[in-house]
Symmetry: C2
Subunit: 723 residues, 2 copies
């Protein structure tokens, strides 16, 4: 492996541990050293000849200015907790239940312009003339209320504590350390101050070669509660709540000619969760915000470039409005994108972004004493080598399919000292990474012909993600599916319902996958009530296309069928309202192409699934309900899976389902490992075959090449074999 240049690695350096920093920089082949939250680089390090990354977060960097400009803090809409009317007058304390250190009521801008009061029993808005906000008491008083109805107030709140800073502060018990606040960049004064601060920063950091933005201006939505037993009131990685404020709302109305109301954000208290199908109006708002973030963001990046530094963006925390898969992303002029990854799909998320030169992964485990759920990592009892092996096993299979340019670590470097096995393993990881990268440079790996389309309400804007990490919402079928797909030899495209209606379905699409529960963005929500959607997909399958429906795919409580593609899927779901309608008594077909090899495949049940008739074949069942079925429609085929969770056997089942639906069963014969615990990629350009062991135990596997030649290898746990 010595031929490959030992670079493309970002090391977290640490002042006071200069020897260690330089030793590991060499061992792991670093070409760049970075600071982290809570660490600094000494001059000895910054002058050691390595590239230097420095992290900045523009909206919380100048807290002195923020304190002097409390009228220019970020805001958002909140819905008060409901209050039941016991008489004709209802008194509501808007902030009751919310964390007062995070929020205060915006009493400056006229409540009557922005707030709304709703009778949530009837879902009717209370006329503005029937309520008032009393600044003295901090209460909203509703008059002419209907007795025993439930009332809520949508109100504007000012945020007093930037969320990431708040989380770190409270989690790490930082005591009286200053609370950082997030300034709203829509005010010209804020922009001026940010640019001034940034310029001064560039001047005062001559050693920095790359400025890493964390990220741009708006954090994902995170509302905290007063009650420590209900601390997280709302948390969504993709939600634009923190972009709402009087300036933005007025600018939107001016630009679009119509108004965003508080209820467009509050949405009956559901807010606009990424997991739910978005409204057109909310999508317009997102686009409006994206436009602003790109516009002002570009000014910041231009400034960084002016000082001869590169500008990278960290795709987490305050990433709202950045939208790396949005159409304007290249306009920022970023040089690089950095993504922290636990999973393969996150590696693909980074690898697939366009409009930047450098894609970099921040690997786990972070060099912290404990992991996400408080378990020891770099601390007594921890096994960071094993952690690294498991994370790398997830990420590596994705990197076989699509490369990134760099990898790196973050955290406190000195913590690795008691773990020499981790240090040795990271050396192996960095070398493996560089080798795989070199194969990609000689040409893309072999993929099975034809595209696999993931159909969601978001389309390409949410390529390779379902909002957040897999462990946060492991019950979301699609996140599990894209995790499987991240390492499979298919070309994957992400499309929305609007896309297929306006553009049609490309002739190169073999199989469409739609997965999720009813009303989710992933299944599609009310898009399934659109006849043109059903028409396009029915035509696609009738003409020979493949459709894979998972869980409540195509579901809408509409007309005679619950699955709007029941005629294609051959199954439908009974919510209990078809209790007296007889169900077809299917017989299980135990042997099939799809279920071969995967006796251990285990899919979650979808309650109430039933088979429409004899033209549907059930290939697997659980507790008496079908979990895998196939059906035909016209020249095409469908596969129904009752749910999906990522694991290696299910991944094999999914691959076979795609091949079956796409009528490409023969493709399984070439460049596919015989052992589902292993995977491979063949790079025609470099003539290399890479085989990986995705488990912690030894595995033997055989790969058949295009020329018929068979390669059989035995791999050590987590190991890789190059042929």
């Amino acid at each position: 492996m010595g031929e490959v240049l030992r670079d493309s690695f970002t090391l977290p350096g640490e002042s006071g541990y200069e020897d260690l920093t330089l030793k590991l920089a060499k061992k792991w082949g670093a070409d760049v050293i970075r600071d982290s939250d809570g660490t600094q680089l000494s001059e000895e390090i910054t002058n050691s000849g390595y590239g230097i990354y420095s992290t900045i977060c523009l909206i919380r960097s100048d807290n002195a200015w923020a304190k002097q400009n409390m009228d220019k803090l970020q805001q958002n809409f909140l819905m008060s907790y409901p209050v039941v009317a016991e008489s004709e007058t209802v008194v509501i304390q808007p902030l009751k239940g919310y964390f007062k250190e995070q929020f205060m009521v915006n009493a400056t801008d006229d409540p009557k312009e922005f707030w709304q009061v709703f009778d949530r029993t009837t879902e009717e808005e209370v006329p503005v003339s029937n309520w008032d906000y009393n600044k003295e008491t901090g209460e909203v008083v509703v008059k002419n209320a209907k007795k025993w109805h439930k009332y809520t107030v949508n109100f504007l709140a000012v945020r007093l504590w930037e969320e990431i800073s708040m989380y770190n502060h409270i989690t790490n018990d930082w005591g009286d350390k200053e609370h950082l606040m997030a300034v709203e960049p829509r005010y010209p004064e804020t922009q001026e101050n940010i640019l001034k601060w940034l310029e001064e920063w560039c001047i005062s950091h001559p050693a920095t070669t790359v400025v890493r933005f964390t990220s741009m201006f708006y954090n994902f939505a995170w509302f905290w509660g007063d009650d420590i037993d209900c601390r997280s009131i709302y948390s969504d990685w993709g939600s634009y709540d923190f972009t709402a404020n009087p300036v933005a709302l007025r600018a939107f109305e001016k630009e679009k000619g119509y108004k965003m109301t508080s209820e467009d954000f509050v949405n009956k208290g559901f807010y606009n969760q990424t997991h739910n199908a978005p409204s057109k109006k909310y999508q317009e708002w997102m686009d409006f915000v994206n436009c602003f973030v790109v516009e002002f963001g570009k000014k910041c990046i231009d400034l960084v470039h002016k000082y001869g530094k590169k500008a990278y963006v960290f795709y987490d925390d305050s990433w709202i409005g950045v939208e790396p898969y949005g159409k304007r992303f290249p306009e920022f002029g970023f040089d690089g994108l950095i993504k922290c990854v636990f999973s393969g799909f996150e590696a693909r998320l980074c690898a697939g972004a366009q409009g930047i030169d450098t894609r970099e992964l921040r690997l786990h485990p972070y060099l912290f004493p404990t992991g996400l759920s408080g378990e020891p990592t770099f601390a007594p009892g921890g096994n960071p080598k094993l952690d690294a092996q498991k994370f790398w096993q997830n990420v590596r299979r994705a990197l076989l399919r699509k490369p990134v340019d760099r990898i790196g670590l973050g955290g406190y470097l000195h913590l690795v000292e008691p773990f020499p096995d981790f240090c040795d393993y990271m050396e192996k990881v960095t070398d493996e990474f560089r080798l795989l990268k070199s194969f990609h440079q000689a040409g893309e790996p072999y993929v099975i012909p034809g595209k696999v389309m993931i159909l969601t309400a978001w389309g390409s804007l949410r390529s390779w993600t379902c909002s957040g990490h897999l462990h946060e919402h492991p019950e979301v079928d699609l996140i599990n599916i894209i995790e499987s797909l991240s390492g499979l030899p298919f070309e994957v495209v992400f499309k929305s319902f609007d896309d297929i209606v306006s553009e049609g379905i490309g002739a190169d699409v073999k199989v469409i996958i739609n997965a999720g529960v009813i009303n989710s963005a992933w299944s599609g929500g009310d898009n399934w009530k659109r006849a043109e959607v059903v028409e396009k997909l029915t035509e696609f399958v009738a003409n020979g296309g493949g459709f894979i429906g998972v869980n409540e795919s195509s579901a809408a409580e509409y007309s005679s069928q619950y699955f709007q593609l029941a005629h294609i899927l051959g199954v439908d779901k009974d919510l209990g309202t078809k209790k007296c309608l007889g169900k077809y008594a299917y017989k299980l077909q135990k042997d099939s192409f799809i279920t071969a090899e995967t006796k251990g495949a285990d899919l979650p049940i979808c309650d109430g699934i039933y088979v429409l008739g004899k033209d549907t074949t059930v290939l697997a069942e659980k507790n008496g309900t079908p979990t895998v079925t196939v059906s035909g429609f016209g020249k095409g085929r469908s596969v129904y899976l009752s749910g999906y969770r990522f694991n290696l056997e299910n991944t094999r089942l999914l691959m076979r389902a795609i091949l079956y639906a796409g009528q490409q069963e023969d493709a399984i014969k070439t460049y596919i490992c015989s052992n589902p615990m292993t995977e491979c990629a063949y790079y025609p350009g470099s003539g290399k075959l890479v085989i990986i062991n995705n488990t912690g135990t030894e595995q033997t596997t055989t790969v058949q090449m295009e020329n018929g030649k068979e390669v059989t290898v035995t791999l050590l746990p987590f190991d890789i074999e190059i042929q």
Copy 2:
């Protein structure tokens, strides 16, 4: 026990087994002998001095007439299976998939007057001008269809085989035995023939003292399929489908001034299942049919009376339109009502009917070789005594609370001969029955003060039933609840949402129970979108009432809450669309009044249930989700149960939940068995305390009397103790 008259028992006699018949008549204390389907009574029996019951079914009694009057058979609406349009023309065979021996297309009445064609992709009706029925081919041709949309035809079908006769014929393999047909009594000619046949029958059956109608004119809905793997297409014990036909439809329109359409019956293929919340229009139709059934039924009963016989009605099979809990039931002039019973709630159903002198239970097991699922009963391997013990155990606890007048058996008497232990046990059962009846005659048993209201979309019309037997839909929470209630010391009333809106909630109501899944008749469906419903119930609880919500009680996908009474219940449900909204981290409270005694109580989970905040107390949980919670609202209390299944421990839990919600915890101290496997009733009129063992094992239990005295007894399996 010798003082009680040994009567009130109906014995199935059998010709050829005269000695056995008379011997068992004496042993079991029969005063009446009956025939059964497939048995006859000889003159020796009919002349033996016993009362004689004879069964008749008017609508299938004169098959010769039916064959000569095929234009006067019963009809109903069916929805064809959907056909996907592959071009602008769609051809649909309406009957495809249906059992041709049961149905034929009604091609006589103008399809354009009664049928409808729907685009089920868009749920739009196809204009009548765009489709035609071709009598020659039996096909509906739709023109100007939208490609890839799904089309169905609602059409009138004539029924060629009366369903009970069809079921018995096919199940018992009766070969070429004639298929009986059901005639439609709305035609004057049919009525004339029925009355003529009935008069002749009365004249030719002088020994008959009681005519048992089976039942009146319309069977419950039962559609069969061609495919033996999908034989039951639709089956609902309470549905009025078989009452639709051109004569009735036109009469309805004339009377009401508006029309019932085919879609009012077909309802997108859901039909009008009793388990689903009914529409107002469908309820109007039911009332219209009931009016006719009572009107013509009375003529038949009057005729029977004219011949000095009594008229009883069997509350099963063709019971549609009879409605023993309808306002017109007394108008029939029936002398008796007979109900076949597996469960306690069915005994209460019979016991509670008004407008008749005699209420009679037909006990299980029937004297047949096999039971419902083909298991041996009166056949080698069977244990009919044990079966009888189990059924009697269900029924007896209900009879402790509310009496009926008679019990009896049905079937082939000679089958009991090899089972002398069964014969001895039945002697005990009949004596127990007569004794309990005698206690009731001296006055009602003690009940805990205040009423328990069951709130459903049906109200009192479906008192003590949820459509069919418990074993048919054991997943219906309410049927399990009423089975528990059937033997508990509460006065139970059944009310509809319309009732509470129009009449208010009676001051004597202590606790309201609402139970079921969303959109079910039991939970209430769209009634929960009515503000006046929420107002009434909120006021009721605020003023001190108790509310028990089970499973998806008060659920409607409406406004900010899923449970429209979330403010009362203190819990709500997340369908997955509140994924990012934080949930309160409750702490389980292990000791409580409600969960005392019932460590083994086990309720089904309701997925997605979450606690609203600290004012809700979780008393039990399963797999990390709450199963029993309590909350307070105003002066009242609520209890939430995630689901309910009948068993003795859950029954105790429910009783305690009712006492807690009604703020009557102290009532547990008096006339309640200390051992939940036993129950008791105290009859102040006769001064008798009856204690029953509801299990097959010996039980010891203590009852505290009003005067503080304690009674402790040990009961043999299934036994009874009188003090």
